[in-house]
Symmetry: none
Subunit: 216 residues, 4 copies
DNA sequence: AATGAATGAGCATTCATTCAT
DNA sequence: AATGAATGAATGCTCATTCAT
């Protein structure tokens, strides 16, 4: 996974946001509180009142900023998408080639997940709470990813492959699961080693390696 | 993904199941109805009454067979695990080697998901509804998968790899995402082609292929 | 409290009881189980199934012996009444006079309650579960008690009093509360001392005692 | 029974009660409705919806003021305790001595019960619904009562007695039963006569009275 | 902008009772 | 006589959302 694209700028303070400074701060507090609550307890176990309490505002205030419970959730998913893409773009900016970018991207992703567990969970749960937001998340992601692969292939950095959409989904799936396994569940593992082992698989595959004197 | 292991026999008629034939049928009806409802509407949107109605039994009957809503859900997840492992084991039984088994396994998985969308969704949602069941699902799966890889490596069919746990999770993630993308969302695609493209990536990786006259 | 009257013989195996020995044993088991469950958990917290389980019979069997949950309960209340009256009658049989009978009766009652906490609770709860049975319990009791007082008064053993119904209810209330306080709650206290102190009050009242040389 | 003590002020508007006047009124309505419903039908036969309907508020409103069905019940028991103690304190305020206070207290209690049948029932049922509240009710009551007796004894108004705890429980039991018999069941009787007869027993006991020329 | 009292639809769960075997 | 599967009425409680202030 790597390079981003798509809408940026936190994806949140869209539509005619709050006018006052106070309003902006309240919004941010609500968003942060929502991310923590949803991340910790999940969508259905989270009550709006727990969000407003954590944010330190009145219950009614929530509805000044969001139309519904689902809306904050969607905003969070979009935000997570933008942030993830941003983090990955940063991490691979200096990569000399795509293969190296893959390795860097995987590690960056693991680190990112590990430090944003709540958001990771929010995205995963979006599959059930806001399916459209979930699809949009991966649509944007895969589009950018495909572009990266296509360019790399044209530069000869990676093989042509039979179907980039398939490759992209396989790669996203691999990273996502590793994110769950090593970013969320087992956050003690060394992400560099994991990324190393994972990129080795993604780059070289399962097939037995040609030995040194193999290609005489 | 392939070969299974772990508890067998549908994982359901556990603890002192129904004694009578009638009881067994009622249980099966309830389980099937639950799978369909949970699969179609999701855990939280599904009411017990909708399950019993679909099953054609009284509301109270549900509680004769299950302690709670969560319990059926968990039973379903376990059932899904056993069934998936069984389907994969069957599909790869005849594979001449692991690389071929991977290709067969992927396709079988896609086909299985496509014909069991409801159960696929149940498993995914388990992450939020019954986290322990979800982890158990992958724990069992990955253990069997690791064993397959280890044996294949010892036979020289695949490379040794740096960390089988990492490889297994990357492979499970890839298949799972492809299952979502091509099994659930886009169920018109040709699974054989997808499996072909996917296994090509998993087997050979992204790295450029050595051309014939490449090694001068 | 003392001497009994009213229907005897356990009050239970009335109406055409079970014909077989097996049936009689099942009935007794159900009754005992019901007394223990109702006594321990209370009427509403007790499920018929818990009674049948404790009795070691099938759920349906309960309805072979009782028409409803309330019916066992009523049977138990009646049984308790008979037993209590019996115990008190026994305890006061040898009393030389009514004042002494009061003391003996109180102590016997405390001891009885202490060794039949479950039944004590059943009777108290009858006030809300089976009001008619509760009233009947005290109607029978007070009638016998009044008769005792009347006879004692005619013998000059106690004062005439203004209204025996009032005296009887006051005395029953006193004993009942002492039964709760010292029989159920504080079952470590010495019942003899309590009975001594209580009968002193009931016999001599609160008024200051005439000193020796008081009556010049 | 007489003189009170313990927490005062209706015991209800405790923990951060409603802020607005409207809120306070809603709370009071709910409390009154609950007392009537519980008193008329009993705890288990009373549905929250019947309380809110009687109070003229929405169902959910109940849970704005109370955490659970049991909580209102407990609040009612506490309230009843405070009110009863208040009524008795008032009635005996002018009593010239303890013996007279007893008589006044009994009558006041009977009158109070008669005009608060619902609350009387609530307290009695608390024994099974909220045992702790029930014990607390009598703990507070008996403590105050004991103090009254001790002071009276030191003033020579009543005998010393062997055990004031026993005396107090006997007296409370007597009054309580008379309250049931003449306050709840038979509300046509003349409470003054009953109180007179009862206090005669409590003050002078059952023992034969010394006649004038008795001590020849 | 902020608030919190009020609302009621919605749902999981319990359990006494029936009845076919 | 004994059983236990089946039933559905009944109800406590939650919580997103509204709206008057």
């Amino acid at each position: 996974m790597s390079q981003y694209s798509g809408s940026e700028s936190s994806a949140i303070e869209e539509r005619s946001g709050p006018k006052t400074e106070r309003g902006r701060r309240t919004l941010r507090r609500l968003l942060d509180a929502a991310a923590e609550e949803f991340g910790a307890r999940g969508y259905h176990e989270t009550a709006i009142s727990s969000i407003t309490q954590r944010a330190g505002v009145g219950l009614g205030t929530f509805y000044v900023y969001f139309k519904s419970k689902e809306e904050v959730f969607r905003a969070l998913v979009a935000d997570m998408g933008a942030r993830t893409r941003h983090a990955l773009a940063e991490s691979t900016r200096e990569a000399p080639n795509r293969l190296e970018a893959e390795r860097l991207g995987i590690q960056a992703y693991l680190d990112f997940v590990r430090s944003h567990k709540a958001l990771y969970r929010v995205v995963m749960e979006a599959q059930f709470v806001a399916p459209e937001a979930y699809r949009e998340y991966y649509r944007t992601f895969s589009a950018a990813y495909r572009q990266q692969l296509a360019q790399a292939a044209s530069r000869g950095e990676i093989s042509e492959g039979q179907d980039d959409e398939v490759r992209v989904w396989a790669l996203m799936g691999a990273s996502t699961f590793l994110g769950l396994r090593y970013g969320v569940w087992d956050d003690g593992a060394d992400t560099a080693s994991v990324a190393e082992a994972a990129s080795d698989l993604m780059i070289n595959g399962l097939a037995p390696r040609a030995k040194n004197g193999d290609a005489s």
